[in-house]
């Protein structure tokens, strides 16, 4: 094993250290020799804990870096691949995140960066036995996928979330060459779908697949190849098909894979009934292990009930593709007693949410998405009363994402009183600058109530008409806040100053269209190195302000995205992040690193 090697290494290192500088913990008298330390440390999986471990002493730093198998890089530009492979010699799994989150909303131009290829070429040399790669918001080309498929013989798991730049040709390469593939999880939107024949590239010998998610692809795949694949992969536990798979085909797949724990259906309705619904229902009944169901496109009251037999053990139900009415949701939820997480469209209305409160006492997470977010007239959707109804029936609720058109301070205060355990509170009042529609006051008190009442709050997104008072509350009370999203809020620099002056745990701050200027930016000078990143767009920052920041804080990358429309002196989009890798070398012409 490696232990002998490492022991020699440790001894060498200790000998070369000046005894005067050696602290007691790093002498050979260390009570935890490597053989003990490493197996113990290898049980620690949280990367935050591992960070802490590595700071204890040199022995622990070394033991930790040798025992680490998975590295998580939250910002691909905060470190270079060379530094990573230099520190961690035995990595088997890499998670990389790239673009700022606001790129999901088209605020980051194309070709901004976060190309995975430079990482892959370094990883191929250092970790030839890499098994897992999980990418989020990275630019991934077909060449990168081919490179990945050809250079990592032990590769097992690929997860692409919100990535772009590749096509189904890249998936063909993965399917063809990764002989031990266990996981292929494609959840993103920037893919060029050239056809479904990538699925047929899985060789007949591949039996190791455990996770297959191609729900976000559009093209039809060969159903017979899919059926054969599902049949021979006996360990398949997650199968999420795309919309082209119809009910009949789904039934066949389910009969082949009753061991599934997560199912994403295809189109969940049909016009030509080739098989009575009772059959489908029985099939669902035979899937005893289902914990998650998603997909359910186009479903309705005729077909949705076929899943009832499988609902009793469901913990996560993702209905965000099924525009259900309130009563349809209610009928369904009666069967879902164990539900912990629920995603719905706002077509269910307040009445649907009342049903949630009535039937799902164990609910921990609720996400209500807008079926028609850009609609202004004739908006239905959900209101504050649905929100309150859920909070009354679901005291364990700690994660909420709620899109609505109207809200009141009183309702939010009631919600957090009912559910003080919130860790993630993301409220999006879709009408910009909307006050409390009953009192016409700003929504400051709502978020004040949230931060005062919920001591475990980690993530907050605010909306509605907000003054600096909201931020005063946040800075003062949100001691555990790590992620804050702000849009169209605040009255002056004070708002941002409050937040930067408080919130000791803040890691990610993303701001758009707020009246915060240079003074506010510079008030957080000392804070930014403790944060992962700061995004500010369409605020009142100028190039000079950003230059001052860049000068004072050399270990930050202060990037300004140039916008030909705005004045030269304005800094329209600013992205600031800590880094040990120096300024980006792959910045496109419109990104200026100050």
């Amino acid at each position: 094993m490696d232990l002998n090697q490492k022991r020699t290494r440790t001894v060498d290192r200790v000998d070369s250290v000046d005894p005067d500088l050696v602290s007691p913990e790093s002498t050979p008298m260390c009570p935890f020799p490597d053989e003990v330390l490493e197996p113990v440390l290898s049980l620690i999986n949280s990367h935050k804990d591992r960070s802490s471990v590595s700071l204890v002493c040199k022995d622990w730093y070394n033991a930790e870096r040798w025992s680490r198998r998975h590295v998580f890089i939250g910002n691909c530009y905060s470190v270079s691949p060379e530094i990573v492979v230099g520190r961690f010699p035995k990595i088997r799994s890499v998670t990389l995140k790239g673009k700022p989150r606001f790129s999901d909303f088209n605020l980051v131009p194309e070709d901004w960066g976060a190309d995975v290829y430079p990482w892959l070429s370094v990883l191929a040399k250092a970790y030839p036995f890499l098994e897992e790669l999980r990418l989020k918001r990275m630019a991934v080309s077909d060449e990168s996928l081919e490179f990945l498929a050809m250079n990592f013989p032990e590769f097992k798991a690929l997860s692409l979330l919100s990535c772009d730049g590749f096509s189904t040709d890249g998936l063909k390469a993965i399917a063809t060459h990764c002989r031990n593939l266990a996981e292929l999880d494609i959840q993103e939107n920037g893919i060029d779908d050239l056809g479904g024949d990538w699925l047929s590239c899985f060789p007949e010998t591949l039996t190791t697949l455990q996770v297959l998610n191609f729900a976000s692809l559009n093209s039809e795949v060969s159903f017979s190849d899919l059926e054969k694949l599902v049949t021979r992969c006996k360990s398949l536990r997650v199968l999420k098909v795309n919309r082209t798979i119809n009910l009949d085909q789904l039934q066949k797949l389910l009969l082949r894979a009753p061991q599934l724990t997560e199912l994403g259906t295809g189109t969940f309705t049909q016009d030509l009934v080739t098989r009575p619904v009772a059959d489908l229902e029985a099939t669902f009944g035979s899937c005893k292990n289902l914990l998650t169901i998603s997909g359910l496109w186009d479903t309705n009251s005729l077909y949705l009930p076929v899943i009832y037999p499988a609902c009793a053990s469901l913990t996560f139900l993702n209905l965000s593709c099924a525009a259900l009415r309130s009563f349809e949701l209610a009928m369904l939820l009666i069967h879902c007693k164990s539900l912990r997480r629920l995603w719905v469209l706002d077509t269910v209305g307040d009445m649907g949410l009342e049903a949630v409160g009535s039937w799902c006492p164990l609910l921990e997470e609720l996400r209500v998405f807008p079926a028609d977010p850009f609609e202004q007239e004739n908006v239905a959707g959900v209101t504050e009363s649905g929100f309150v109804a859920v909070s009354r029936g679901c005291p364990k609720l700690h994660y909420v994402l709620y899109f609505c058109h109207q809200m009141t301070n009183a309702a939010v205060a009631t919600v957090v009183q009912n559910c003080p355990g919130f860790t993630h509170f993301r409220l999006c009042i879709m009408n910009l600058g909307q006050p409390d529609y009953v009192t016409n006051e700003p929504m400051d008190e709502a978020f004040g109530a949230v931060v005062r009442t919920c001591p475990n709050l980690q993530r907050l997104a605010v909306s509605g008409l907000l003054t600096d008072l909201t931020f005063e509350y946040i800075g003062k009370y949100a001691k555990n806040l790590e992620i804050l999203s702000v849009a169209f809020a605040g009255s002056s620099d004070l708002g941002l100053k409050y937040v930067l002056g408080g919130c000791p745990r803040l890691r990610k701050l993303e701001i758009r269209d707020c009246p915060f200027g240079n003074a506010a930016l510079l008030s957080g000078l000392t804070k930014y190195e403790s944060m992962r990143s700061l995004w500010m767009s369409a605020c009142n920052l100028t190039m000079n302000g950003c230059r001052v920041l860049a000068k004072e804080m050399p270990r930050l990358n202060v990037e300004v995205m140039k916008d030909e429309d705005s004045e030269d002196s304005q800094a329209h989009k600013v992205y600031i992040y800590r880094t040990v890798a120096g300024p980006r070398r792959d910045a496109p012409p419109f990104v200026l690193t100050l």
Binding site: E110, S162, E188, S219, V273, N378, M561, D563
Partner: protein
């Protein structure tokens, strides 16, 4: 709030397709989207543009026609009927039966017209697509967007976590069985996937088809969803919005003039053989099947191209 927008048929491959920044070099990616309701306009208020249009395809109109008069319970024949009774049983006391009724044209009219064109409403500059909105969106052509809706990236609904739905079709706030249009849509699609003629097959099945557009003199190209357009005029309008909106006050570049060769710029495309052709010569469908990318050239460069025929307004 990284919620994915429910889009009509699928996920637009080109969320990055908004391009670095059109003619004006506006770097923010106003994205093109598929042919559904989503419209993301440019961030800068004075330069707001609508990037793509909403559904006008024959598919949806077919769905409209077929849907009239069909009943929910009758949809599945025996199976449907059987299920209906089951629904009633499960519904616990007839609470269901009131919803399982025959849809009439009245329901359609209400449910569809009451569903405004969110695409139009989110544009603050102009609504180029409203004239081609199709029958479903007539109610909203006159809707002027409230202040602040024409903002790129708002509401913060990302495509990443949600999958496309037809949810946008359902607008009635009442408890009617308005999911019927969806059913018809899926019916058409289920049949249509196999039945589409070859001509449309390549790109109708792909619900979204983007091509790159580059303009001479502009560094950063854009992407346009061709399936979101049904005519050259529409396309020209969109391109005009993308590249020339700042110049809209000048006569030099009007949308129609992009097509007829009288402006300073001329619209060309590269076809699948790699040849550079003038846009507008062939029927729209043929154009769709052969276009690979678009290019807005300065008129002086286009002399070597084939002479064109007179363009009329009804060319498509």
């Amino acid at each position: 709030m990284d919620v994915t927008l429910g889009l009509l048929d699928h996920i637009p491959a080109g969320d990055d397709g908004g391009g670095g920044g059109g003619g004006g070099g506006v770097p923010s990616g106003g994205s093109t989207t598929n042919r559904s309701i989503l419209t993301v306009s440019k961030e800068d208020n004075k330069n707001t543009m609508v990037m793509s249009s909403e559904v006008t395809s024959g598919e949806s109109l077919d769905g409209l026609e077929l849907g009239l008069g069909l009943s929910i319970g009758g949809g599945g024949g025996g199976g449907g009927g059987g299920l209906k009774s089951k629904m009633v049983a499960n519904g616990g006391g007839g609470g269901w039966s009131q919803y399982a009724r025959i849809l009439t044209a009245k329901d359609f009219h209400t449910s569809l017209v009451s569903k405004p064109n969110s695409c139009s409403s989110s544009s603050s500059v102009n609504i180029p697509n409203s004239s081609t909105s199709g029958t479903k969106r007539i109610a909203t052509d006159s809707v002027s967007p409230p202040n602040g809706t024409s903002v790129v990236g708002w509401p913060p609904v990302s495509k990443a976590h949600r999958m496309p739905t037809l949810a946008n079709q359902i607008k009635s706030p009442t408890e009617n069985f308005v999911s019927k249009p969806e059913q018809n849509k899926s019916k058409n699609r289920t049949l249509g996937i196999k039945d589409y003629s070859d001509e449309r097959n390549g790109f109708s099945n792909k619900k979204y088809r983007s091509v790159k557009v580059n303009m001479d003199g502009t560094l950063i190209g854009r992407k346009v969803d061709l399936n979101a357009h049904t005519s050259y005029e529409m396309l020209a309008q969109t391109l005009h919005e993308m590249f020339f909106s700042r110049w809209s006050s000048t006569e030099a570049v009007k949308p129609s003039r992009l097509l007829d060769g009288t402006s300073e710029f001329v619209l060309t495309y590269e076809d699948k053989d790699g040849d550079c052709m003038l846009v507008g010569d062939v029927p729209w469908e043929m154009f769709l099947s052969s276009v690979k990318r678009l290019r807005i050239m300065k008129n002086s460069d286009s002399n070597e191209l084939a002479p064109r025929f007179q363009e009329t307004n009804d060319s498509v």
